[in-house]
C-alpha cells in the first residue's frame, strides 16, 4: 500500500514538473494582416512583426464590439514558452506512439512463431507484450489530443496553413484511429477466445496483422505532415496555395522518414520491453519468474538489436535525402548548427551497440559450451570500441589557441581522417558486422557436434541456394543498374570501382555457397566476413574520401553499394549458420534465470539510451527547419524562432525522457495491478 502511494506521488510530481521547470516568458502575440480576398487557397501572411492593436483606454464595450478581430499568429501557454510546451507534448506523444506501433509488429511475429512451433511460452509472451500495449494506447491517444489542441491553440496561423493543405488527410487519420482502436482491443481481449482451432488462431493473428496495417498507415499519414514541413512541395511558395495534395503528401522526405521510423519503432519497442523484463527480473521472487523474465529480456534485446542493425542504413538514406532536398539543410545538419548533436547521437548509438553486445556476452555465461567461444570476446571488444572511437571523433575538434598553433592547421589528422562520413560509414558497418558475429557465437554456444551439410537433405540445399539467388539478385542487379546512372562522363568514372566491388562480393557469396556444399561452412563464413570487411570497411573508407572530394554525386551510390555488400554477408552467413548447425547435438542447454544482475542493468541502460536518442533525433528533425514552420514557405516570426543551445536542448530532452519513463512505469504498473503475485507462467 505504501509503495503504491509513493508511486502515485512520484507520478504527480512527474506530471507537474514541466510547469515548474519551464521558463516563463511574456505573451507577445504577433498579429498578421488578415487577407481580405477570399480564395480557394490560403494567402500567406506578410511577415512584418505586427503589433496587437492597443485598446484605447476607457473604450466602451460597444466600441470593443465594433473593433474588427485581428488574426492571431501565436499565443502563449498560460505565459509559458509555447514552443517548449509543443516540443514536450509532441515528443511524449511520439515516444508513446513509437511503442504502440512498434510492439504489435513483433507481438504478432512472436505469436506466429509460438503457434507454428507449438511452444506456448511464445504465445504467453506475445500476450504480455499486448497487455503493455493496450495500457499504453490510451495514453498515446490522450497525448495526441493534447498535442492537437496545443498546436491549434498556440500556433493558430500555422495550423490554419496545415489544415488548408492537409484537411482531407486529417479526416482519414481520424477514421484510421477507429480501426486502430478496434483492432487493438479486439486483438487483446479475444486472445483466449480465439484459441483451440487453426481457424480461430489464424483469425486472431489476422486481427494482429490488421492492427499493424492500421498503425503503420496512421504513422505514414502523420509523417507526411511532418516531412512536408521540412521539404514542402505541392504548394505555391509565393501564395501558399495548394497546387497538388498528392505532391504535398508524397513529399521528398516522406518515404525515408517512414522507413526509418518503422524500423526505429521496432527497435524502441524491443528495448523498452527488455527493460520491463529486466525490472520484473530484478523483483522476481521465484526461480520460475526469473527464468521467464530472463527469457523475455533476451527476446526484447534480440528484437531491439535486430532492428538496430538496419537502422543506420535507413538513417543514412534519410540524411542523404535531406541533402538532396536542400544541400543547405544538409550542411546545417551534419556540418553546421546541428553537427554537435550528431556527436551526441554517435555516443548514444555506440552505447546501444556496446550495451546489446555486452548483454549477449553475459548471456553466454548461462550456456554450457560457450567456453569454446569466449576467446573471441576480447577481439570483439577491441573492434567495437576502436570503431566507436572513430565513430564519435568530430571533424571539427574543440581546440585551444595553443593546440591550434602546435598542430599548425585547422584539422588534426585524427579528425581529418576519422571525422568525415566516409570513415563513419566504414566503422558503423564494422560495428554491425562485429555485432552479427556476437550473435553467431551466442547461437553456437549451445551447439556441439554438427551434422555434415551433405546430410542435411533438401531443406539445406534449398535454403542455401535461395539465399545465394537472393544475394546475387541484390548485388548483380544493382551493379547492372549502376551502368545506367545519368552522370557526366568525368564523374561516372568513379562508379566503376563500385561495380567491380559488387561483382567481387557476388563471387565471394557464390564461393561461400560452394564451400558450404562441400561441408566447409565455417570456412565459407570466415571467408565472406573477411571479403566483406576488406571491401565495405577498408576499401570504402579510402574510396569514400576519393569520391567525397572529386565526385560527391557518387556518394549515394557508394553508400548503397556498401549497404548491399554488408547485407549480403549478413544474410548469407546467417543462412549458412542455420544449416551448418541444424540438427547439431545440444551441449547442455540454456539455464534461463542464471544471469548476473548487471546484465539487467544493461537492459535498463539500453532502454534509457534509446529514449534519449529518440528525444535527441526528434529535436534535430524538427530543429533543422531553423526559423521556418514550413521550410522556405511559412516563416516562424514568434519570439521562439531561434535554435536552442545544446545545453537547453539537453535539459528539455532530459525532462522529456524523465517524463516518458515515469509515465511508462506508471502505465505498466497499472497494467499489472490486476495480476496476483507469484503467478508467472512456468517455462
Amino acid at each position: 500500500m505504501k509503495r503504491n502511494i509513493v508511486i502515485l506521488f512520484l507520478f504527480t510530481i512527474t506530471i507537474l514538473s514541466p510547469l515548474l521547470l519551464s521558463s516563463k516568458v511574456l505573451a507577445n502575440n504577433a498579429v498578421a494582416h488578415a487577407t481580405e480576398e477570399e480564395s480557394p487557397g490560403m494567402e500567406l501572411p506578410q511577415f512584418e512583426a505586427g503589433q496587437a492593436p492597443e485598446g484605447e483606454s476607457g473604450a466602451t464595450p460597444e466600441a470593443a464590439e465594433e473593433e474588427e478581430l485581428e488574426v492571431v499568429q501565436y499565443r502563449t501557454f498560460f505565459g509559458l514558452d509555447s514552443r517548449v510546451v509543443v516540443w514536450i507534448v509532441s515528443e511524449l506523444h511520439l515516444m508513446f506512439a513509437a511503442f504502440v506501433l512498434g510492439v504489435p509488429i513483433f507481438a504478432v511475429i512472436v505469436e506466429i512463431v509460438g503457434y507454428k512451433g507449438g511452444d506456448v511460452k511464445y504465445d504467453k509472451m506475445a500476450k504480455e507484450f499486448t497487455k503493455l500495449l493496450s495500457a499504453a494506447f490510451a495514453t498515446t491517444a490522450s497525448l495526441g489530443g493534447l498535442l492537437a489542441f496545443c498546436l491549434f491553440g498556440l500556433y493558430p496561423e500555422f495550423m490554419s496553413h496545415m489544415t488548408n493543405v492537409f484537411a482531407p488527410t486529417m479526416y482519414i487519420y481520424a477514421l484510421l484511429f477507429f480501426g486502430e482502436a478496434f483492432t487493438l482491443y479486439g486483438y487483446y481481449y479475444s486472445w483466449d477466445i480465439l484459441k483451440g482451432t487453426a481457424f480461430r488462431k489464424w483469425s486472431h493473428i489476422s486481427l494482429g496483422v490488421m492492427l499493424n496495417l492500421f498503425g503503420t498507415s496512421l504513422m505514414f499519414l502523420t509523417n507526411s505532415w511532418a516531412t512536408y514541413m521540412m521539404s514542402p512541395s505541392g504548394v505555391s511558395p509565393a501564395t501558399g496555395r495548394v497546387l497538388s495534395l498528392y505532391h504535398a503528401f508524397y513529399n521528398e522526405l516522406w518515404m525515408p522518414v517512414n522507413i526509418h521510423r518503422l524500423i526505429a519503432n521496432v527497435c524502441f519497442g524491443g528495448f523498452i520491453v527488455g527493460a520491463y523484463a529486466a525490472v520484473k527480473f530484478l523483483g522476481a521472487r521465484t526461480e520460475e519468474e526469473k527464468a521467464h523474465y530472463d527469457w523475455m529480456g533476451y527476446v526484447g534485446n534480440f528484437i531491439g538489436i535486430g532492428a538496430l542493425i538496419p537502422l543506420p542504413f535507413a538513417g543514412y538514406w534519410l540524411g542523404r535525402e535531406v541533402y538532396s532536398a536542400s544541400p543547405v539543410m544538409g550542411n546545417i545538419m551534419m556540418g553546421g548548427a546541428f553537427s554537435w548533436t550528431f556527436i551526441i547521437q554517435a555516443i548514444l548509438i555506440g552505447m546501444l551497440f556496446i550495451g546489446a553486445n555486452y548483454y549477449l556476452w553475459l548471456g553466454m555465461g548461462r550456456i554450457k559450451g560457450s567456453e569454446r567461444y569466449t576467446k573471441f570476446i576480447k577481439y570483439l571488444v577491441f573492434i567495437i570500441f576502436a570503431c566507436f572511437a572513430v565513430w564519435l571523433t568530430p571533424h571539427n575538434l574543440p581546440l585551444s589557441g595553443e593546440e591550434r598553433a602546435m598542430i599548425g592547421e585547422q584539422y588534426h589528422p585524427f579528425s581529418k581522417y576519422f571525422g568525415v562520413m566516409a570513415a563513419k560509414n566504414a566503422v558503423v558497418n564494422m560495428i554491425i558486422l562485429a555485432t552479427f558475429f556476437s550473435f553467431l557465437i551466442y547461437r553456437r554456444s549451445n551447439k556441439g557436434e554438427t551434422v555434415p551439410f551433405s546430410e542435411q537433405g533438401r531443406a539445406g540445399k534449398i535454403g542455401i541456394f535461395s539465399a545465394l539467388i537472393f544475394c546475387l539478385l541484390m548485388l548483380v542487379s544493382y551493379a547492372v543498374s549502376l551502368n545506367f546512372v545519368e552522370l557526366e562522363a568525368n564523374i561516372k568514372e568513379f562508379v566503376k570501382p563500385l561495380i567491380t566491388s559488387l561483382y567481387i562480393q557476388s563471387f565471394a557469396v557464390g564461393l561461400a555457397a560452394f564451400l558450404t556444399f562441400k561441408n566447409k561452412g565455417k570456412l565459407a563464413q570466415t571467408m565472406l566476413f573477411a571479403v566483406t570487411a576488406c571491401i565495405a570497411v577498408l576499401y570504402f573508407w579510402y574510396y569514400g574520401f576519393e569520391v567525397m572530394q572529386k565526385a560527391n554525386l557518387v556518394l549515394r551510390y557508394l553508400s548503397v553499394t556498401q549497404v548491399s555488400i554488408v547485407m549480403s554477408c549478413l544474410i548469407m552467413n546467417a543462412v549458412i549458420d542455420i544449416f551448418v548447425f541444424r540438427k547439431a547435438k545440444l551441449v547442455g542447454g540454456i539455464s534461463w534465470g542464471k544471469m548476473p544482475v548487471r546484465s539487467q542493468y544493461a537492459l535498463i541502460l539500453l532502454c534509457i539510451v534509446i529514449v534519449i536518442l529518440m528525444g535527441l533525433m526528434g529535436f534535430i528533425r524538427s530543429g533543422l527547419r531553423m526559423d521556418w514552420h514550413v521550410y522556405g514557405i511559412l516563416q516562424d516570426t514568434s519570439q521562439w524562432a531561434y535554435t536552442p543551445t545544446l545545453s537547453f536542448m539537453g535539459r528539455v530532452v532530459g525532462l522529456i525522457v524523465a517524463l516518458f519513463l515515469g509515465l511508462v512505469a506508471f502505465v505498466f504498473w497499472l497494467a499489472n495491478l490486476g495480476e496476483s503475485k507469484g503467478k508467472t507462467a512456468t517455462q
Binding site: 521528398e252 542523404r320 538532396s324 544541400p327 543547405v328 550542411n331 546545417i332 551534419m334 556540418g335 553546421g336 548548427a337 553537427s339 554537435w340 555486452y358 556476452w361 553475459l362 553466454m364 555465461g365 567456453e371 569454446r372 569466449t374 576467446k375 570476446i377 576480447k378 571488444v381 570500441f385 566507436f388 572511437a389 564519435l392 571533424h395 571539427n396 575538434l397 574543440p398 581546440l399 585551444s400 589557441g401 595553443e402 593546440e403 591550434r404 598553433a405 602546435m406 598542430i407 599548425g408 592547421e409 585547422q410 588534426h412 589528422p413 585524427f414 579528425s415 581529418k416 574520401f545 567525397m548 572530394q549 572529386k550 565526385a551 560527391n552 554525386l553 549515394r556 548476473p596 522556405g632
Partner: protein, 256 residues
C-alpha cells in the same frame, strides 16, 4: 575446455591503457609528422586524448565484467597472495601509483594557469536563406564560356586571394604565417568540396565579420569583399578557386 584463468587480468588492462596513452601522447605525433611530411610533430588534441583514454578504460572494464569468472579474476589481483614475488611487487606499485595519478590529475586541473579557452566549433555556419537560392550564372553556360570564366577566376584568385590562401589554394600564402588562425586549405577534401558553391559566394561576400565565435575555421581574418568585388567576379573566383585546389563543389543531388 575451460579457459585458462588469469589473476593478472587487471595488470594486463593497466598495461593496455598505458600503451594507448603512450601511443597517443608520443607515437602518433611522430607517425603523423612522417606520414604527412610535416616539419613538426602533430600532437593529439587534449579533447581527443581524453575521449580515447575514456574509451580505453571503458573497453577494459567491459571486457573484465563479461563473465562472473573474469570479474572475479580481475578483482583477485588485489587480494594478498603469498609466494609470488612479482605479483606482490606489482600490487605495491599499483597501490602507490594509482592514488598518485589521481592526485596528479586533481593537481594539474586545479593549478592556476593561463590558456586560451577551448570552444565548440562547427564546420559550416548556417547559410542565410537568401543565399540558398543563388545560382552560379556561369555554370549553365557552354563549355568554352565556362573554361574562360575559370581562367579569369584563376587570375582574380591570384590577385585577391593568393596572399593568404596561396597560389595553390593550399592555405600557404605569403601572409599565412602572420595569422593566429591560418587561412583555410582548400585542397583538403573536408573544406570547400563539402559545400555548394553558393556557400562560398556568401563567405567571400560577407567574410568573417559577424559570424558566431564557434564558426572556426570560417571565423578568421577573412575580410568582406562585397564592396570591392562584383557578384560576377566572385562567381568566377569560386570557379577558379575550385579548379586551382583540384576539388569540385558539392553538387545538388537529384532525388530518386
Amino acid at each position: 575446455m575451460a579457459n585458462k584463468r588469469s589473476t593478472y587480468l587487471m595488470m594486463w588492462m593497466v598495461f593496455v591503457v598505458i600503451c594507448v596513452f603512450l601511443f597517443l601522447r608520443y607515437a602518433s605525433p611522430k607517425i603523423f609528422q612522417v606520414l604527412m611530411a610535416k616539419g613538426h610533430p602533430m600532437p593529439t588534441p587534449s579533447t581527443l586524448m581524453m575521449w580515447y583514454m575514456i574509451m580505453g578504460v571503458l573497453a577494459g572494464l567491459v571486457y573484465a565484467t563479461t563473465s562472473n569468472q573474469k570479474f572475479a579474476d580481475f578483482l583477485s589481483f588485489l587480494l594478498p597472495e603469498h609466494g609470488s614475488l612479482i605479483k606482490s611487487f606489482l600490487q605495491k606499485v599499483l597501490f602507490v601509483t594509482f592514488p598518485l595519478i589521481i592526485g596528479w590529475f586533481v593537481y594539474s586541473w586545479s593549478i592556476p594557469g593561463a590558456a586560451s579557452p577551448v570552444e565548440l566549433r562547427i564546420q559550416h555556419p548556417t547559410l542565410p536563406q537568401n543565399y540558398e537560392k543563388q545560382e552560379n550564372p556561369f555554370r549553365q553556360k557552354d563549355a568554352e564560356t565556362q573554361r574562360r570564366c575559370v581562367e579569369e577566376g584563376k587570375i582574380l584568385f591570384q590577385t585577391y586571394c593568393r596572399p593568404c590562401h596561396g597560389s595553390k589554394a593550399d592555405g600557404n600564402g605569403p601572409f599565412a604565417n602572420s595569422f593566429r588562425l591560418r587561412p583555410i586549405n582548400f585542397q583538403d577534401p573536408g573544406t570547400i568540396a563539402t559545400v555548394v558553391d553558393n556557400y562560398l559566394f556568401w563567405r567571400i561576400k560577407e567574410g568573417a565579420p559577424g559570424l558566431p565565435s564557434e564558426s572556426t575555421p570560417w571565423d578568421s581574418a577573412m575580410p568582406a569583399w562585397k564592396d570591392d568585388l562584383k557578384d560576377d567576379e566572385i562567381w568566377k573566383i569560386i570557379m577558379g578557386e575550385y579548379d586551382t585546389a583540384g576539388v569540385m563543389p558539392r553538387q545538388r543531388e537529384k532525388l530518386e
